[in-house]
Symmetry: C2
Subunit: 320 residues, 2 copies
């Protein structure tokens, strides 16, 4: 939770001269987001978010992310809309960083997920998948099965610092996933990181999906698996079947979920758990001294993975 780059008022005022959104009225650094610096920005025309992309985002990916938000917003998905400057460009430069102004979305992220959140979340996820179906750009998912082993090899020598025997467990899991990872499931643009932090609600309705900076091309069902892992476990580690059922049923009302997708789900859930176990393990072991962001405990996803390793059929998760 940090602002990495401090934007002086004169630099921001100069940036705004490239836009048609009026003069600067107020801005505040927001203590949210672990990847980028974000500012709440108010101009004579309303509220926006100013994002400066920091080193964890590859600038080469930014045109994909911004075009995707444009595409989805044009199809009535409640997501940030990039604001284009007078020259038509949404991606600009500020304080030496790539930067963009996007629309401000109202709503509140639930700290405690209730099952009433899960149906609307499934619905919103499916709508996003459908709306992205004709998005013409592709981006490889660097955080999927092919990307896990290099990350593992970097972490393996120190994995025991987090949990005794962790490297061996991950190695065995990797072999299972690499051998059995499905092929040919319906694919398209996925969000890839749709944790409760990235979803706004107003009452029981989803009012916004944010933070598309892990979006990529992959199986739709893998996106759902990431959501189930993020939304359907209780703080004590138990799996909440009711939440998972509501999420799948909300999803299915919008987009069909095939038998192949359902059959693959237990393995996709293992993969989704391993993905966050590995990235959190990496950040835990290698976060720089004095970093402003406290890394997530990787063991939360270790426990989720352990749970999924014992599941053979979707019916055991309440899903059919």
């Amino acid at each position: 939770m940090a602002v990495y780059t401090h934007v002086p008022d004169d630099a921001l005022e100069a940036l705004l001269e490239d836009y048609d959104i009026g003069a600067l009225v107020s801005y505040k650094g927001i203590a949210e987001g672990v990847e980028n610096s974000n500012y709440y920005l108010e101009t004579e025309q309303g509220a926006f978010i100013l994002t400066l992309y920091e080193k964890r985002v590859d600038p080469a990916d930014l045109p994909f992310f911004l075009a995707l938000m444009d595409h989805l917003a044009a199809r009535d998905i409640r997501c940030p809309t990039p604001i284009h400057g007078r020259d038509g460009a949404a991606l600009r430069s500020l304080c030496g960083r790539p930067a963009a102004i996007i629309s401000f979305l109202r709503g509140v992220s639930p700290r405690r997920v209730a099952f009433r959140h899960c149906g609307p979340l499934g619905d919103a996820l499916a709508r996003m998948h459908v709306a992205g179906d004709d998005f013409p750009m592709r981006r490889t998912n660097t955080m999927c099965v092919a990307g896990w082993r290099p990350l593992f090899e970097k972490c393996a020598p120190r994995a025991h610092e987090v949990q005794h025997g962790l490297a061996g467990m991950i190695e065995a899991e990797l072999e299972v996933l690499e051998a059995g990872w499905p092929a040919g499931l319906p694919e398209g643009v996925i969000h890839g990181d749709l944790f409760p932090d990235n979803v706004f609600f107003l009452g029981d309705e989803v009012s916004g999906l944010i933070d598309f900076y892990f979006a990529c091309t992959d199986f739709y069902a893998y996106d759902l698996a990431i959501c189930i892992n993020a939304w359907c476990f209780e703080p004590d580690g138990s799996f909440n079947v009711t939440k998972a059922r509501h999420m799948l049923s909300g999803y299915r009302k919008v987009r069909p979920f095939s038998d192949d997708e359902l059959t693959a789900l237990p393995l996709l859930l293992r993969g989704g758990a391993l993905r966050f176990l590995l990235t959190r393990l990496h950040d835990w072991l290698f976060h720089p001294e004095g970093a402003m962001v406290t890394p997530h405990n990787p063991l939360e996803y270790y426990r989720k993975l352990r749970f999924h390793q014992s599941v053979r059929r979707p019916g055991e998760l309440g899903l059919d």
Copy 2:
């Protein structure tokens, strides 16, 4: 620049039930303020700031600060107005901290102070002094001459870590200030910390004064001295006479500045410089490991104090 206390949505929604400002629409932790946790808060009725008071603010002082903001706002000073709950109280409790909702002020703090800012700042400072003149509460300035020596004694054994000979220089300065500190100057409520961060501008007009959590009862001229120190030195350490003149002249258009106050100003400027040298030295030496806030470099105020030690008459500062 940090949010120390994370407020979950359900706790905030419960708090808002005590107010008549509508339901929660959005909130974001703000990466500003080194003392407290602040949130940008939007309800159905508009924008507000939610402040949670952290350990550096004495809860016993909060009624003074909130009553002062009420008093000043009622006299058309552009400062945060505490929002009162249905029971009439502005001070409440959230996540185990004292908390208050105050009005949101538009405007932008100048990163680079220009002389065009200094006249309006002097004007706004004087208006605040005049408006506070009939404020009935008092609060001793713990950061004035009587409070410096205890702070110095805590820092002295380690002051050489910051600058060779620093303890000796401060000791000598303390003797001068303790012996010569003026008495009987006009006094009342001062802001005490009116740095550019705490002043909003819209164009060339002051649109808000914020952060009254060092406000106390002291000489008005000492408040002006703090402002001159904070606004009238250039980044290279040189003193900008034009800025100081504009500030005093803006001040004088609103409130007379007596000959006694002017004569005392060189010593008040030394005191104001020592006050921030000492508090910054303290925070530099004793800030906890892993603190989210980077302390200010105390040497900035060491250099300002050195400058003022060579000044005998206000005329040398361009002030008469």
